[in-house]
Symmetry: C2
Subunit: 339 residues, 2 copies
Amino acid sequence: MNVPDTPTLEDVAKAAGVSTATISRSINHPDKVSPDTNERVQQVINALGYTPHFAGKTLASKRSRTVGAVIPTMANAMFASGLQAFQEELNVQGYTLLVASSGYDHDAEYEQIRKLIMQGADGLMLIGHQRTKATRDFLQARRIPTVLAWCNPDERDALYAGFDNVAAAQEITREVLAHGHTHIAMIAGVSGSNDRASQRIEGVRVETAKHGVSARLLSVVEAVYSLEAGGDAFEQIMRQSTQPTAIICGNDVLACGAILRARQLGIEVPGTVSVTGFDDIDIAQVIEPALTTVKVPQRAMGKAAAERLLSLLDDQIPTLGSINLPTRVILRHSLATLK
Amino acid sequence: MNVPDTPTLEDVAKAAGVSTATISRSINHPDKVSPDTNERVQQVINALGYTPHFAGKTLASKRSRTVGAVIPTMANAMFASGLQAFQEELNVQGYTLLVASSGYDHDAEYEQIRKLIMQGADGLMLIGHQRTKATRDFLQARRIPTVLAWCNPDERDALYAGFDNVAAAQEITREVLAHGHTHIAMIAGVSGSNDRASQRIEGVRVETAKHGVSARLLSVVEAVYSLEAGGDAFEQIMRQSTQPTAIICGNDVLACGAILRARQLGIEVPGTVSVTGFDDIDIAQVIEPALTTVKVPQRAMGKAAAERLLSLLDDQIPTLGSINLPTRVILRHSLATLK
DNA sequence: CTGAAAGCGCTTACAG
DNA sequence: CTGAAAGCGCTTACAG
């Protein structure tokens, strides 16, 4: 007598006195099996503690009911609740989520995508639409069902559930200008490999430009998403000869880093300089002064992304089109009216 | 002519003019294949864009080189960097990480564990050691290699990479007492399903008790880990007839929630009441006053957990034993000395 | 409603 | 160093 090996379909079939085909049907298409048999099979399954083996199932059916997501980072809350909502919706429909992160590196993203597909992911959720040619070719050659999130509408025919980063950045800029600020600076995410970051920069540029000569975007400094880097960028901006009265940040972490550094340097926010954020994660309410920022509809986006991907997976032709969710500016205390 | 289906081992074999066995060996054990063949195979693989099919591989080899982790939540940064470090270490060794979350619900944890095992996970990383009997039985019957993290040493023979929650809570309590506080309250995580939360409560109890009659733990109120709930707990505590001069919180989010609510109520922190946290996530530096808290060695723990799980997977007998990592109190400004 | 059998894409003794 | 072949645990036409 040996270790009771984990039972297989065949063990169940023997114990129930039917064929493996019947067991398989009883599990996956119970309506095609007689009630009696169904019941007996169910009992044996419970008695044996049988769990279908995923690899066998996947290999035979050519479907894994698994979906992959690759996000830039798990290190801050930026994607957390959107991903959670995505997962919840998948679970409802019997799918499992595989998560990977790329660290904002497009080659790493390609690696992770390949891994996810090897793992048998039926479809993918990706952030933004900027990626390497190798990645795009791979996705296209394999015809991998994909939904994009966190990003803008795209001229290409990709399916996405996102929001308009440019418009959102314009909106917060409009708000800043409406508060009487004319000397603006921006602390942005690293735009080279991050289309959301560059679109937010674009939004700020476009909107300040609209104001003609009355408003100026003095400088845009890019920083990785950390408190430290946000602080450094702040210092760099404040050392410049012409100082801004308002700094628009591409992300809440950056904005908090700026405010923290201001505190250290004895610079008042928003007394001397106003600061705004983007995302509206927890940290935005916690910082003092509380951050005026852009609320990104994370949960709605995650859910919408799941629904679209699933409709793509089930019907080959998606019943749900791309969607652009609304953002909105949350006014708190880090943006002051300029007298 | 059809869609160029994703190539299989057999396609590669044909194109290279060798058997599938040779291709398989060339990929997995190149030393057992002649250099010439290896090179030719490599070329064909690149030309065809061949990627091994995970399910086939897993089924044949009975190993997935995949590891699962189930964490209570992805919603705050509490586990994020530990998980990231865990993943990084796995990747170095050619393993892939599957992540699931349980929402602090033990039945959900069981579900997620089963799913991960079905998915073919070779081993598991779990948080804490409290779980249902069904889960324990399942893990044991299948002899699933498992490493525990975030938790205390355990009387049972489980392998873990954690820290002593009781001792850490005692240490921060000692610090609070050393600052002259005698009227203490605690805002704790929900202890029913969370052994870390209950151990932190225990630490606070034990340490205040040590001080005999000179110090009192007035009350312990439990709250889910959110700013809102932390705030509510704070209000509840401050409404009691005897008010504390210091509130020890089981988590940074709770502590920040308390401070935020204090601000709204016009109660000074730490002037009127001191507040301490636990974890030392970003938010702890961002809140004003900056949080005195306990630094949890997230990254070190994640890495140590990966190393231990991998050693368990490779050698059946682990070369690395359980480890208890040090925590330390970070003194910032939310804890004042009582005159 | 049920079963026998082929096949999904790989790996791995076993021979040579 | 290489190949033929069995087998991993399932699903699914195809018959009946």
